[in-house]
């Protein structure tokens, strides 16, 4: 059995709704997190991201000034001074399938539809910790590898982006590595 040491993780929570920020803070502290920084809009979150260098970002989508999608795109700048690789969990009231695709294409690591639950949040954090994905950089995308199912990794057909030969790289998950080591 594996457990996350939340007290070693630094979180940045970005949500314009103070009630949801309180709920997230309560959940994360209950999991054991000590460092939870909060921003109420995307601009403030970007500043805090640079300043505090969080391990994991949890952001709402719909916010004033600039939203969670724009925040994600600003973090996922390969040439940026800050860390462009931090896991980003999009926690949102949006529940349409196309929104998942849009979020994924912006570089979001995990999508979590509201209503929030302790179990779902824990599982998303566990997933980004235990199963980090390599990043893909193309002419118009920079973010986590969007093909993450075992079926997708086994794909050996023509590459969708170019129509050329596919080249797949298998990344053992941290959870798998830990199991082997244990």
């Amino acid at each position: 059995m594996f457990r996350i040491d939340f007290n070693k993780l630094r979180f940045l929570v970005c949500d314009d709704n103070p009630h949801m920020r309180r709920i997230l803070r309560t959940l994360l502290h209950s999991f054991g997190a000590r460092e939870v920084y909060e921003a109420e809009d995307g601009a403030t979150a970007l500043e805090m991201y640079s300043h505090y260098a969080p391990d994991i970002v949890i952001t709402d989508w719909v916010m004033p000034i600039f939203d969670g999608l724009e925040l994600t795109q600003m973090i996922r700048q390969p040439e940026a001074k800050g860390n462009p690789f931090a896991p980003i969990i999009m926690l949102t009231g949006h529940s349409e399938k196309r929104r998942v695709t849009v979020a994924r294409d912006a570089g979001v690591t995990e999508f979590l539809a509201k209503p929030i639950s302790a179990k779902a949040l824990y599982q998303r954090v566990l997933n980004v910790v235990a199963n980090p994905r390599p990043f893909i950089k193309t002419k118009n995308y920079f973010g986590p590898d969007r093909r993450r199912t075992s079926a997708a990794n086994a794909y050996i057909g023509p590459e969708r982006r170019s129509g050329g030969d596919a080249e797949t790289i298998h990344q053992p998950s941290l959870l798998d590595k830990a199991r082997v080591a244990g």
Partner: protein, 192 residues
């Protein structure tokens, strides 16, 4: 905060893309525990959330007041980007949060309102009573929620509002296939 051993970003170049494996600073936060370990962080968090629940009614009331104020601004000044965005954000927050606060049918009605705001080609052409009835329904659901015998009424009210809104949206989007597809597609199930 999580510290990784210093290691370089590993980059593999391909014809039209690069595969980048960054160092993993989170490597050290996952640990194996004994099966006898009874600590349950999820249960602990659920208990903490239950401890907050005494505040949910007040939080829901403030979300409703925000929605009412956003609607009042539209009745006074009409639709602008600012008034439209504030109404959408207020409804969207209720859609996302009301279930957590114990008002799931308010969430359903708020979702229906969000769909109107997102998919109506021209908001100032939407029948005013369609939007007003959604606002009234959400406020009434929250106001009357304490009365258990109203539960069936709440559900039926939300269901009918959604049906009317969907019928309207399907009609006004008949020549906008991308909106029509979004309107007709089932939503994703909320996470466990």
């Amino acid at each position: 905060m999580a510290k990784a051993k210093t290691s370089a970003v590993h980059v593999e170049a391909f014809a039209d893309h690069h595969v980048i494996t960054p160092p993993n600073p989170l490597r050290g936060v996952l640990r194996a525990v004994d099966d006898k370990d009874r600590d349950d962080p999820i249960a602990r968090a659920e208990r903490a959330l239950a401890g907050l629940s005494g505040e949910f009614d007040a939080w829901m009331a403030s979300e409703c007041e925000r929605l009412r104020a956003a609607h009042a601004a539209i009745l006074k000044d009409g639709f602008s980007k600012a008034t439209r965005d504030e109404l959408f954000r207020a409804a969207h927050d209720i859609k996302g949060d009301a279930t957590t606060f114990g008002y799931p049918t308010a969430s359903v009605a708020a979702e229906s309102l969000c769909r109107i705001i997102e998919h109506a080609p021209q908001l100032d052409q939407v029948p005013a009573e369609l939007i007003a009835n959604h606002i009234k329904a959400i406020l009434a659901i929250v106001r009357e929620h304490a009365q258990i015998d109203k539960a069936g009424v709440e559900h039926e009210l939300s269901r009918r509002l959604r049906a009317v809104a969907d019928e309207y949206l399907a009609a006004v989007n008949h020549d906008r296939p991308e909106h029509l597809e979004a309107i007709l597609s089932p939503g994703i199930a909320p996470a466990e």
